[in-house]
């Protein structure tokens, strides 16, 4: 584990609310995480867990209103991004921290050629001339393995396949040489063979540039393939944090365990799926105590009362369950 005094990126007890017509949705309730150069941190969660909002908060692209950052800090290289003004924040975005989204088609502007869009970032933010920017754009497209980059630099987004568009988006994200890349469900909309290509690409790029990667996903298979550490989110909280090998070996939180037992697996045949009963809670009415208790297979009366703290399980593992030590020993 890293011993540097300050992490490259650190989120410290973040609380974010959304003011909706149904009431105040507490979307992020005390999230703390960190990532360093060369690491891949996976934020694993389902819809409503708050994983995408966390990413957007780090990037500074949350719509405020209706979002409100109640408290907490997001420190990049020691500086609290939340304390910066809009201009300074914008400078960090893209240059130091870049983001890749799920749907490349809506993230790319359909009326401009792909090469132009990549070059645009370079012209505006790095001050390159048109020719320099275009040359760099071609180089970037090459780097993300878009075949015949020179020819395709003038093509439009709709002329590319899904996987190719995703590569374009990655190229754009890398243009300014960011230290941190946030990938929000980058392969969810892609076919499985293309998904594998893109995940390989991200792994290669990470090795080449020593970027920190924050991967946001719901896919336990993808996480197992690339992550170093995993933060499992549920209802705006990190309920478990562990290194990847440890997490798949034994789980310290009932939600993680239940999730692993409920997914069908390609490497195993006919085992029955243990479904998690109930539904994820309404974020405007989060259950008292442990938010997972209504769905938990080993909930006890105290779980409805006490909000579990983060219990240290050693080796950098934590779990927000009152019975973490028992859960991790369960087989």
């Amino acid at each position: 584990m890293t011993t540097s005094p300050a992490h490259l990126l650190e989120v410290d007890d973040l609380h974010v609310e959304f003011h909706t017509r149904d009431g105040v949705a507490r979307v992020i309730n005390g999230v703390s995480l960190h990532v360093d150069a060369g690491e891949t941190l996976a934020i694993l969660g389902e819809s409503g867990s708050g994983k995408s909002v966390t990413a957007q908060a780090i990037m500074g692209i949350l719509d405020m209103p209706p979002a409100v950052i109640r408290s907490g800090a997001i420190r990049y290289a020691g500086r609290n991004l939340l304390a910066l003004d809009d201009e300074a924040r914008r400078r960090v975005r893209g240059r130091d921290i870049a983001m890749v989204f799920q749907d490349a088609l809506s993230a790319l502007n359909p009326v401009f050629p792909v090469g132009w869009q990549i070059a645009e970032t370079l012209r505006r933010r790095a001050g390159l001339s048109r020719t320099e920017a275009e040359a760099r754009a071609i180089a970037l497209m090459d780097r993300v393995k878009i075949p015949a980059a020179r020819a395709r630099v003038r093509a439009y987004p709709h002329q590319f396949s899904g996987g190719m568009r995703q590569r374009v988006m990655i190229a754009m994200a890398l243009a300014l040489g960011p230290k941190i890349l946030i990938a929000d469900e980058p392969t969810t909309a892609l076919d499985v063979t293309v998904q594998a290509q893109i995940m390989d690409l991200l792994a290669d790029l990470r090795r080449e540039t020593n970027m920190a990667v924050i991967l946001i996903t719901h896919d336990l298979g993808v996480v197992a393939g690339v992550a170093d550490r995993i933060a499992v989110m549920y209802t705006g909280r990190i309920v478990e944090h562990a290194d990847v090998f440890g997490l798949y070996e034994s789980q310290g939180h009932p939600y993680t365990r239940a999730l692993l037992e409920s997914i069908p697996r390609i490497d195993r045949g006919d085992e029955p799926l243990k479904s998690i009963m109930g539904l994820p809670p309404n974020l405007t009415r989060i259950p008292s105590g442990c938010p997972f208790h209504p769905r938990c297979y080993r909930a006890e009366p105290v779980c409805a009362v006490e909000v579990p703290p983060h219990i240290d399980l050693g080796h950098g593992r934590t779990s927000a369950c009152l019975f973490a030590r028992e859960v991790i020993d369960e087989r």
């Binding site: 499985v192 393939g225 697996r265 390609i266």
Partner: protein, 343 residues
């Protein structure tokens, strides 16, 4: 209802063929011009698909986008007319049926759709939605008994029968999918086509719905055609699996034959690319396909997969490999001249 269910279950004999699909073809013409339309080509969405569905079994159809599995589903449900081919149900070609007979077919062949957010009419109550099959096929249930039947169906899929007056938007995605399943089962079909029934659901809800589908199959003797892109889900639920690529089935066999002893390079690539929730298998040398899927309007000559296949030879461009049993200790049909098990 359960006495009926038991009787229905025993009436059905395991093993006989309920649906036989023969050389099904669907080409979508590409036309030019507004007033005088000229046909300049065709998208060969389904290009000669044949398979059998046996009673009580689930056949999984897997493939990536553009392989034609969704078009295949639409054909079987008679939402599209085939360019050629037939599908025999109880000995009769479903595409030759019309009028009353077509209506009767509908009672036997139903579908669970993919998106629970758009597959239910937002302006109808749940009771109306699940009861609509009875309104269309009035002979199945006399008017007085409909409400009871609807409530029984809701219970069957794990929903509260008292919610009969609620609207779809008051339910979650998983619950809406259950409503869709209840609707599909109302007429007691023999065959249910499931088109990606869980891909739009959250991971923790998928298991609920998959388990429900399995339970219903067992209790009601249903046969499923399960279409999905998620190989793990198909591995779990299917008895037999057909792998599609560019409108054709490239390999078909039992679940174990496909998942453990695949012989077609595309199947092997597909399985190799699927993410495994186990970090220890990381770094294994996987098969990575280069490039994109060719356009279904202009598929490669001979074997369609040859442009991305590492085994491709001249023979592959010249002669299209037939979907026949290939030499193997456990032979199953594979459309490759050089079919062999992977490492």
């Amino acid at each position: 209802m359960s006495a009926e269910r038991l009787a229905a279950g025993s009436r059905r004999v395991q093993g006989d063929t309920v649906l036989q699909v023969e050389d099904l073809v669907k080409h979508f013409p590409i036309t030019k011009g507004v007033i005088f339309k000229q046909r300049i080509g065709a998208i060969r969405a389904v290009d000669g698909v044949s398979f059998e569905l046996r009673r009580g079994e689930t056949i999984g159809i897997v493939g990536e986008s553009g392989c034609g599995k969704s078009t295949l589903a639409r054909l079987l449900l008679r939402l599209e007319t085939p360019t050629a081919g037939r599908a025999l149900l109880e000995g009769r070609d479903i595409f030759s049926l019309a009028g009353v007979e077509l209506r009767r077919l509908r009672r036997n062949l139903q579908m669970v759709l993919q998106d629970p957010y758009t597959s239910l009419n937002p302006r109808m109550t749940v009771g109306d939605i699940v009861g609509e099959p009875f309104e269309i096929h009035a002979e199945v249930a006399p008017r007085g008994s409909r409400r009871t039947r609807v409530q029984e169906l809701l219970e069957l899929v794990g929903l509260n029968p008292e919610h009969i007056h609620r609207y779809p938007h008051q339910f979650s995605g998983g619950q809406r999918q259950r409503i869709g399943i209840a609707r599909a089962l109302a007429l007691r079909p023999e065959i249910v086509v499931c088109d990606e029934p869980v891909s739009a659901l959250d991971v923790s809800i998928q298991a609920q719905v998959i388990n429900l589908l399995e339970d219903l199959q067992r209790d009601l003797g249903l046969s499923y055609i399960f279409i999905a892109h998620d190989l793990s889900v198909v591995r779990h639920i299917a008895d037999r699996v057909a792998v599609m690529y560019l409108g054709k089935i490239v390999e078909i066999g039992t679940r174990d034959q496909i998942y453990r002893r695949a012989t077609h390079p595309y199947t092997q690539a597909l399985l190799s690319s699927a993410p495994v929730p186990d970090p220890k298998v990381r770094g294994r040398q996987g098969i990575r396909l280069e490039g994109d899927v060719p356009s279904p309007a202009n598929p490669p000559s001979g074997c369609r997969f040859r442009t991305r296949c590492w085994k491709a030879q001249e023979l592959c461009a010249a002669e299209e490999p037939a979907l026949i049993d290939r030499p193997d200790a456990d032979p199953h049909a594979s459309a490759c001249h050089f079919a062999e098990r992977g490492p």
